[in-house]
Symmetry: C2
Subunit: 505 residues, 2 copies
């Protein structure tokens, strides 16, 4: 029933804010990423069907997806079509043998998470396919709902979509990653979702949801890394204090540094991801004013690639720090740290690689509006920085961090304007990922500033912990932006364009 949290009451959902389901998504991700993916896909598919499917399809599919009785799968990738969906070949033709609006699909899909399993009575595949008369490229793609089982009279029969192979992966092993064959026996029955040839547009409803989902799951992994490391460090006795007494390793400064890093990163990732989820609530809430909605849409668009990429990179880092705190034990399969290390590595790859996120950030979310959504964000960060206690390190360094990013962005925007499409893509390829990491690290500092401002002058241990962790972030995490800024400002695109990687083969 967990997918029902944010699902609408019409399909027996609880209609709760997305921010609340975001917190649940984080917790599921930290508990078991492989399992969490199934529920998260169902939530995303509910969004797509609500926005784009016929009332008939909605009536049949929404309720069992919201209740968790049925699961869902995104069926996009084909062997020749990964990051570039324009070469998809799966074919959808009108089905003369079926009901009037039915289609039959034939093709092969790979890397389909939760593509087949016995955990639910039915599996709802959203399949990107090409119709016979479609234009080439991504503009010729349409979206189809293809269930694993079809209702027929009083019973059910298997549809012509089958898992023909299971992938063996380094992590998320409990998630069945399938090669799916559609139409080996004549055609998988499906129904069109949304307009013909607007499949990619419909799928982006799901993709944007899943990108926030990756950020939330990654936050959950970072949080779990934090919990595991803290528990182990408090119990593992090794080494002595200066008085010669054996101590738990949490007493060693370097271990404290690692634990504080984990705390600082997990909280920062959470804040950034929840901020995007809250913007999504504002976008969807009927009572939101047009002005507030427009701002929330800008913020959501800007933060979505940051949430997906920065939070997933952060989870990879956190999982590695967690392994290090465990020492040799962290390398053992029986230690959850080693599982998190393997699981977290999928985050920067799927739902659009982290480079694709950074390209989306720079060329679409920032360049297209001339940097105004970014300016709005920087103003919010500066406002939070200004309200910080005057003596704090974060108060000292955060405004300068904003100013340097603003200046570098203006320079970048000028250079993007002065070049052609190929030049823009080359510039993004050289700099967009460090640029995104820079912005993400700054947003993490923003979240710490907001937390410090929220606890104000309270003297509780928790409030002091918030202030100390914010200072730690300022002392040991935020300085990374100096290196990232130097890369972005220094360029390097000339040498990247010129250098032959194979000159060293």
């Amino acid at each position: 029933g967990w997918p029902s949290l944010s699902a609408p009451p019409e399909c027996d959902g609880q209609g709760l804010p997305l921010l609340l389901s975001a917190a649940a998504t984080e917790i599921w991700g930290g508990a078991n990423l492989a399992f969490a993916m199934a529920a998260e896909t169902a939530v995303g598919v509910i969004l797509v069907l609500q926005a784009h499917a016929s009332e008939e399809l909605q009536a049949q599919y929404l309720e069992p997806l919201a209740s968790g009785e049925w699961t869902a799968a995104m069926s996009l990738t084909e062997p020749q079509a990964g990051s570039d969906l324009s070469t998809l070949r799966t074919l959808a033709e009108p089905d003369p043998a079926g009901p009037g609006n039915a289609w039959k699909l034939t093709g092969r899909k790979i890397f389909i998470s939760w593509g087949d399993h016995d955990l639910s009575d039915n599996i709802v595949h959203l399949v990107l396919a090409r119709t016979p008369d479609a234009p080439p490229g991504t503009r010729g793609l349409s979206l189809f709902l293809v269930p694993k089982r079809l209702s027929e009279g009083d019973g059910w029969r298997d549809n012509d979509i089958r898992a023909v192979s299971l992938e063996h992966k380094m992590g998320i092993k409990a998630s069945p990653t399938c090669v799916m064959a559609l139409g080996d026996e004549g055609g998988a029955r499906g129904w069109l979702v949304g307009e013909l040839h607007n499949g990619l547009g419909c799928m982006f409803t799901l993709m944007n949801h899943m990108r926030i989902g990756v950020g939330l799951h990654s936050t959950g992994l970072a949080e779990r890394a934090r919990q595991l490391a803290l528990a182990y460090a408090a119990e593992r006795i090794q080494g002595r204090d200066t008085a010669g007494r054996p101590v738990a390793i949490i007493e060693h400064t370097d271990v404290r540094r690692m634990l504080l890093t984990l705390n600082a990163l997990a909280h920062a990732a959470r804040g950034v991801a929840y901020t995007a989820a809250a913007a999504l609530d504002l976008v969807h809430a009927p009572e939101t004013s047009a002005e507030v909605r427009a701002k929330a849409e800008r913020r959501l668009g800007l933060l979505t690639p940051v949430v997906k990429a920065w939070c997933s990179d952060t989870a990879v880092e956190a999982s590695s720090v967690c392994v290090q705190v465990h020492g040799g034990m962290g390398y053992m399969s029986e230690c959850e740290a080693s599982q998190i290390y393997r699981d977290a590595r999928i985050g920067p790859i799927y739902e659009g690689t982290n480079y694709i996120q950074s390209q989306d950030l720079l060329l679409r979310k920032i360049a297209r509006d001339g940097g105004s959504a970014l300016e709005e964000l920087l103003a919010d960060i500066e406002q939070a920085a200004a309200a910080l206690p005057a003596g704090s390190l974060l108060h000292t360094t955060l405004p300068g961090g904003c100013a340097r990013l603003r200046s570098a962005t203006r320079t970048l925007l000028g250079r993007l304007k002065a070049t052609d499409a190929a030049g823009q893509v080359a510039l993004a390829g050289s700099l967009a990922l460090p640029y995104l990491t820079w912005l993400g690290t700054l947003c993490g500092a923003w979240q710490w500033a907001l937390s410090v401002n929220r606890v104000g002058a309270q003297s509780s241990a928790f409030a002091q912990g918030v202030r100390d962790h914010a200072e730690f972030y300022a002392a040991q995490v935020l300085p990374r932006v100096a290196g990232l800024a130097a890369v972005v400002e220094g360029g390097g695109e000339a040498v990247i364009a010129r250098a032959q990687p194979a000159a060293f083969a």
Copy 2:
């Protein structure tokens, strides 16, 4: 026969320079880290026996170790004694039933790589143990040679040392990591190596060798990551160029950026690790003058922790970049990229964690001689930088990089002098690891500068590749030092000492 490369002719070794065996060690590490560890341990144990064992033991054990007929194992760790060996409990007592100089050992050792297997006729364990009359702590440890099989008359019998469990690990799965029981049937027979109570001193001969070995193996992993990514990027078709033609992903700028990163890191790691191996040759060569030997010893001491820690961190990064170049395929178990990602992660943990390396660097290798070995290294880097082509980015930035590290080091040395032992350990815990990473990144730039100077004005594609890769390192890798320097200079040790990581539990 590979361990024989650098073994002395007296034991049927080839007596070749260590620099040559270093190159072979790198290649083995890249081919299969798990297997490579067996040969590398044998080479290290040969060094220990040559330096510390009786002629009788040398005569019996060196030749089969050098030929590879027998393998070796380092038996240090116990459940309660990992990074801190002072609490070792394995007991060694004179053996009244054995030959006059024999000992019998009882105890449990864990995490023993290649502790038992059927690949060789015998396994030579170097075991750290405590004698009955020994002082407490590490000063009471002695080193013993404990073979798996004992020669008896014309035949062999099993010694009382047995693998009682095998660990399941996330990587290096082909390396049997054993729990070893010594003396379950009365006592494992062993022989003292070196002086009584100087076990740790003798073991450091092996540890220092293995630390360089980890750096070389890690270089091999980075090199293999580079090879795999380059081959995949050249063959995987995805996306289009601006003219709309399908292209191999090596044509995409971000993929080029990743490939150049891999090339730049692998070459830098190799240069730093080989420099340490070359210093080891100078230390050992009889024809080395006293002055040259003293300088080589300083350089080797300074670089050993950098080679172990920076190269292993670099391999972890390279393996992750390699996975990313492969996209979803990189996450599949059948893809070697995923194996390298799992294998590389052991590097920062074993043979002394990377933090222990950084503490050794700062508190021993730099503070103890007041920074003079570091100053000597910086002078060499500056000399290489000065010889670079005047227009190059590396020529512009490398001298400033040296000056900033020199200045930060002087400040750090002053602060270390002004505090007590506890304060020194706290300062190291807060800053030593980013300090080591800073120095390693700078040494990587030094190696690129040397390579550029070596190819000079040559116009070959290879020479141009060297110049381009050096510029890439200057544009995209060296700038990281700005962030690391800001962490080291900014301190943060006050907040690390004050903050309670559990305040967020």
